[in-house]
Amino acid sequence: MDTLTRRRFLIASGVAGGAAVLAGSAAIGWRDLAGHAAANPLPSGAKVLVVVTLYGGNDGLNTVVPYADPAYHGARPELAYTADEVIRLDPQLGLNPAMTGLAAQFRSGRLAIVNGVGYPNPDYSHFRSMDIWQTASPAEPVGTGWIGRWLDASGDDPVRAVNVGSVLPPLAVGSRCTAAALNPGGNRPLPQDFATGLTALAQQDRGDTPQDAMVTGCYRAEREVAATFASIRPAATGSVGGDDLAGQLDTVGRCVKAGVPTRVYAVDLGGFDTHADEKGTQQTQLGTLDTALSSFVTDMAGDPRGRGVVVLVYSEFGRRVAANASQGTDHGSAGPVLVAGVPVRGGRFYGEQPGLNDLDDGNLKYTVDFRTVYAELLERVLDADPQQVIGYAHEPLGLLA
């Protein structure tokens, strides 16, 4: 029975129900996959998407600062950055003082900033709004993430998308496939005795529920992931290879340089929910993002395969324009999205900066639907049909050369 027929058979026979998660990866067969990257490397010229999720709702107005607008200073006198404090990118907008590295990337043309990104009828719940961004479905909750649906539509190899970290985010879960996951601290192969046992546990059984099938599916994928990433080692020193953002991106960089055939990586950074004492907290977080991301972009620009890497940075919402009494800001709506890498037409702004005098109940009105950015990335980075994956099409912003 060939690959496709076998999977169709499994689904049609209802062996594992609708959630025949990863049934496809079993059908690849248990050939020896050691040296996967060498035998089946990322094709030359193929692009790679790295999704950086900032959890908590990053304050966009203090990230990409409209420093020249009096309304900005009026709305948040204690939180605002002055024209002298920001890193000015043009006569209107500047970056948070912590973002020196990304400012340099902007000037060298490797960083693009999309202003005012959001969606209709903003939801001020972290969870619902993050869900909307991760599922690309603003109108109604759906059970699959946008990368998960790309996996569903694009083949069987479980290493096509990789989450760095053991807990899968919703964006990485499809109805048939899920992203693989790597431990940022390193991925030593399991001892042979256990590897044999896990291979046996990966078999499906007649009585499996969809959840049982998730367990066995993840074991099948684990065997493949172990073979693919066995040669990827974290650096021996420092925090590199750790679970902070720099460590996560270091793992991604090593995989890319090794030619692993992964097309999407997901990493994240939390701590952006700044209801109180925002300035210092956000500056620390943006500094962490700046250091990790700018060195990653530089590192990738110097590698032949790395030159195909495109990074997307987003958060579930921006924050309220006006500060609260706790020197913080409450949940808001639209915010900037960063897109970085060699293939990016950087050094410029896309979309319109929402007006600070034209607010919706204290919140910014979005000017760019986030799915417009996703659609362009799906089409130009992942060679996929956005209509098929996210059910959305729009004229591209032209972010990619």
Binding site: V21, G197, L201, H275, G328
Partner: protein, 433 residues
Amino acid sequence: MTTTGGAWQAAARLVRRTGFGATGREVDAVLAAGSASYVRSVLAAAPDPAPAPPPVAPLPRAPKDASADQRRAANRQIEGQQAQVTTWWLQRMVTTTTPFAEKLTFCWHDHFATSAQKVRSATWLLQQNQKLRTLGRGDFRTLAMAMLTDAAMLRWLDGVASTGTSPNENLAREFMELFALGHGDGYTEADVRAGAKALTGWVARPDGTTYLVPRRHDDTPQTFLGVHGVDDAASYCDAVLTRPQSPRYLATRWWGQLASGDPPSPALLEALTAAYGPGYDLTAMFTTMLTRPEFAVAEGTLVVGPVEWLVGVLRALQVPVGDAQVARRTVGALRALGQEPFYPPSVGGWPGGQAWLSTAAADLRVRLAAAVAARADLSAITASARGNRLDAVAYLLGIASWSSRSAAALTPEVGSPARLVALAVNTPEYLVH
């Protein structure tokens, strides 16, 4: 493979869902006593007093002009205290004679998720933990009010920074969305803003006592959720808890924690909310949930999270965790698996289901199980003849029977009891219930 019947399997499910893992002996006892009597007794039992919580004295705040070195030292002290509290709770979960009390406490911690990442006081977090343990089976209004005025919660959701002149919406919003009502209730942004005003003015002392400062509080009567005159935490709480959606939200969320990954049927939901009734009676709701036929037949949909998994393995294998270094390493393992107690990723608590079943988690779990099994009491297995060891390991872990897939995977390992156990706790039968 084993010959245990459906009644034994149902009893095993009950034991696992009301604690951390199970052993065959516990299941036998429940089968003998009857499940209704078991449910009554575990809900009535006072939480095991041992081990007593560590003494974490409130630390003075670092002075505003503290040097970087002083701040680092203060941070280390806070983290040292928090590590003591975290290992204490883990040891408690592993050794307690009242596992359901700890399971409920852990689930309430997931429900009112508060993180030490932001709440830099082990004193406050320990107090919150004790409130969840003592109030988690009483009436929900008392628990909800305790959380609305809890020092750790007020810090976590910025209640302590919320004043009449500029209310902070965080607590008012998340209490409705995540703690008591659910996102689908249809409350508006105006409700969030009005509710935030009613909750203004609370402050906390380093010892964890909290009180209302009248000049920081906005006592203007608000119209909130259609109720006029809401002007303080109590009237805010009542307006939320008396919404018809509130009991349905609570019952649905708890059904998802204890029984099934599938939502409750309308009839079941009706029964659960009727039991909860006008008295906000949590014990009645839990009793109904655990004794309904739907609970006994729900199976194979609930993915076991890292804490339940690891604590269950340690309990079944009687691995001692009293040693501080062992306990710290165990906490480290939970951190790697993404579920360190006192560090939920956000106010929404931990994810569930598929999120726990990544390839990286599989790898970690197998290594961890091997390390634990190497230190375990495996006499129950070694005492059995090889031909009976699959049954012996099933009984040890409270598993009614192995699928033919799992039996085929385990059979080659009957000669190496540690590996047999390490694989057994990674079967779908153990990871899903």
